[in-house]
């Protein structure tokens, strides 16, 4: 019995509760804060999933920067609480129903474990040894051991994924131009 699994479930519960609150709070600021909470919970899960660097980025960039931007805008616009509208319930119910069906479809993915993935992945008759089927997973563990958490992620980012990395710079530039053009009061 390791500690990882119960901790995971704690974080999972936290994230789900936060997410539910995020989408149900009528005050946008509450929503935003609950979303931040969700992100923190996810960061915790990332740590459990051996992605410490991502967890850090999640907290710093996502929860720290992006969500602050949201809060900033909400406050700038001074948007109030959403009023309750009982007439809208049927539409809401339809949404809930559709989402539930979609959720059920996606939840089927929860049935995946390492072994099943390996079985499906391999052309050999099942069951197979996951470690043999997924050497990259082993290799990444070795890379972390060798270069550290950040280094292991940084190495492919600047070699194999150099082109996408460069594209993100263009993407951010575009976003900046766009934001400026749209948000500036007077051009």
């Amino acid at each position: 019995m390791d500690l990882v699994t119960p901790v995971f479930w704690v974080f999972a519960g936290w994230s789900v509760v936060s997410a539910v609150l995020c989408i149900t709070r009528r005050n946008p600021i509450s929503s935003a804060l609950w979303l931040v909470s969700t992100m923190f919970a996810l960061a915790g899960i990332y740590v459990l999933l051996d992605a410490q660097f991502i967890a850090a980025v999640q907290v710093i960039v996502y929860a720290g920067a992006i969500m602050v931007l949201f809060l900033f805008v909400i406050m700038l616009l001074n948007v109030g609480d959403a009023p309750r509208e009982w007439r809208r319930w049927p539409v809401g119910l339809l949404g809930v129903g559709l989402a539930a069906v979609l959720g059920a479809q996606l939840m089927m993915l929860g049935g995946y474990g390492r072994q099943r993935l390996a079985d499906e992945f391999s052309t050999q008759p099942a069951p197979v040894n996951p470690a043999l089927v997924f050497p990259e997973g082993m290799a990444s563990a070795a890379a972390v051991a060798e270069r550290g958490v950040v280094g292991a992620v940084a190495e492919p980012l600047f070699t194999a994924y150099l082109i996408p990395f460069e594209i993100t710079s263009v993407l951010l530039l575009t976003a900046v131009i766009g934001a400026v053009v749209l948000a500036k009061k007077k051009l």
């Binding site: 479809q105 996606l106 089927m108 993915l109 049935g111 995946y112 993935l117 499906e120 992945f121 391999s122 052309t123 997924f134 990259e136 194999a160 994924y161 150099l162 082109i163 996408p164 594209i167 993100t168 263009v170 993407l171 530039l173 575009t174 976003a175 131009i177 766009g178 400026v180 053009v181 749209l182 051009l187």
Partner: protein, 499 residues
């Protein structure tokens, strides 16, 4: 010429068109940040941007001319005829839209030359999307394109419609991106790769798995949104109407074309083993899209909305060609897209010239008597309508034949028939446009006095219209080219797939 895509130099060479255009966009941005106050500035930047497109086309041409091929697996970007073909078309669209926007923006009171920068960056996004050999590049290209187009859609800040269109497009677009991303994640999970060819190899080797199937489904959702297939289409009419007209042209032609190029590539390279799975989906999507698009278009009064629904219907036709999953089908996609794009650009170009600053959208009835006042504009728009309708003598007709031929070669009869039913419905809304322009009298004497048709736009539209007519009679060059490129798409992936 073989290019080693794993080295930075090789990658730069492979991405030359994108790099050229991005670099030029930065240059233009620099210029624009100094000169962005007067109409003259805007025009100046516009001309500069067109130069950028020319350069990028030259770069693409160079790549095609030297016959650049990847050394081994195409990493991140594809190096094949299909990419060059799509790049040429997309650059051409971008350039044409830049030309159409020239002076139009100033007339509408939009003096912010960053427009051209965004246009170029959006084009870069499209090129990445269409030329990507890797899901990551594809996703980033898609996002680059989308973000730029969100901004462009809401660019006319003085009009609420534009802002609203921007918001709608943005919200639904971001939502759809989430699905697409989820799909990529699941595919990654199922295959361990982002590279299309490797994904294809893995998927072909094994039985269809739940994760891969779900990934495929979500991926299709993402693309169905981008090409505005029913029921993921609802944003399109509103956004097309609200966006500045050249941007609408850009969306209707460019975004759709890029998405189709990407989808064609994904389906051909990554999912050949799942044909039985995605074919019915595509078929149903195509049928519904054709019928809804055409039927709802019948009820439209506004030209832009009508063209929007017609664009939806055309997406349905293109899905039929994709459905065929053959060289013939890919060729049909290329040919039909060319026909559709050229026609759409010309139609919106003419429409843009008719629009008055700040006025409501152009209704079909506003076109009445256009022929008497502006015979060439009316004739041009008539040719466009006929081409969209698929009438002989126009390029659209050739496209229609190839479109019908592709599924028929696979023994599929229902889809072509549905396409023809759609075509039959479509005459119900294309013809009234021609009717209004040529056969109805002018409503008021001043009706068409405000048309402003800048010379470059005129030339661009004229070239389009002539192309429609010439290619309608003598399409051989395009056809041979398309057939050749279509074959490449499949052949290059083949050795790896069958390994």
């Amino acid at each position: 010429m073989l290019i080693d895509l794993s080295s930075p130099g090789g990658a730069a060479l492979a991405l030359l068109p994108e790099i050229v255009l991005t670099g030029w966009a930065l240059v233009v941005l620099l210029v624009a940040s100094w000169r962005h106050r007067t109409a003259a500035d805007s025009r100046y930047v516009g001309i500069l941007s067109i130069v950028g497109y020319v350069l990028a086309v030259m770069a693409t041409g160079w790549l095609a001319w030297v016959g650049a091929r990847p050394e081994g697996l195409p990493l991140m970007v594809a190096l094949d005829g299909f990419r060059y073909a799509s790049h040429t078309l997309l650059l051409w669209i971008g350039g044409a839209v830049a030309v159409l926007s020239w002076r139009w923006l100033e007339r509408q009171g939009i003096i912010a030359p960053e427009y051209y920068v965004l246009l170029m960056l959006a084009t870069v996004g499209m090129m990445l999307l269409a030329g990507a050999a890797d899901m990551i590049t594809m996703f980033l290209g898609l996002e680059l394109m989308s973000i730029a187009v969100y901004v462009l859609t809401g660019y006319d800040r003085t009009r609420r419609a534009s802002a609203e269109a921007g918001l709608k497009y943005f919200l639904i677009g971001a939502f759809a991106s989430g699905f697409l991303l989820y799909g990529i994640a699941l595919l990654y999970g199922a295959t361990g790769h982002f590279n299309l060819v490797l994904i294809g190899a893995q998927l072909s080797a094994t039985e269809p798995t739940l994760m891969a199937k779900a990934g495929l489904g979500l991926l299709l959702v993402g693309f169905a949104f981008k090409v505005a297939a029913v029921p993921f289409h609802a944003w399109a009419p509103d956004v097309y109407e609200g966006a500045p007209t050249p941007v609408t042209a850009f969306m209707a032609a460019g975004v759709k074309a890029a998405a189709f190029f990407a989808l064609a590539r994904i389906l051909a390279e990554a999912f050949p083993g799942y044909v039985e799975l995605w074919r019915p989906v595509l078929a149903v999507l195509a049928v519904v899209t054709i019928l809804v698009g055409n039927l709802v278009a019948l009820a439209q009064q506004s030209m832009k909305r009508m063209l929007a629904y017609s664009a939806i219907a055309h997406a349905g036709y293109l899905l039929i060609a994709l459905w065929a999953h053959s060289d013939r089908g890919t060729a049909a996609v290329l040919i039909y897209l060319h026909a559709y794009v050229i026609t759409t650009i010309a139609a919106f170009g003419i429409l843009a010239s008719i629009e008055r600053a700040g006025a409501r959208t152009v209704l079909i009835s506003d076109l009445e008597g256009l022929y008497a006042a502006r015979p060439f504009a009316a004739m041009g728009l008539s040719v466009c309508m006929l081409s969209l309708l698929g009438f002989p003598g126009t390029f659209g007709f050739i496209g229609k034949w190839f479109l019908v031929a592709a599924p028929l070669a696979e023994g599929e009869l229902l889809l072509p028939i549905i396409a023809m039913i759609g075509s039959g419905i479509s005459i119900g809304y294309y013809l009234p446009v021609i009717l209004a322009m040529t056969l109805k009298p002018v409503r008021t004497r001043s009706a068409h006095q405000t048309i402003r048709f800048p010379v470059p736009a005129k030339i661009a539209v004229a070239i389009c219209v002539l192309a429609i007519l010439v290619l309608g009679v003598w399409p051989n060059a395009v056809l041979d080219f398309a057939t050749q490129e279509a074959v490449q798409l499949r052949r290059l992936a083949m050795p790896i797939l069958t390994r």
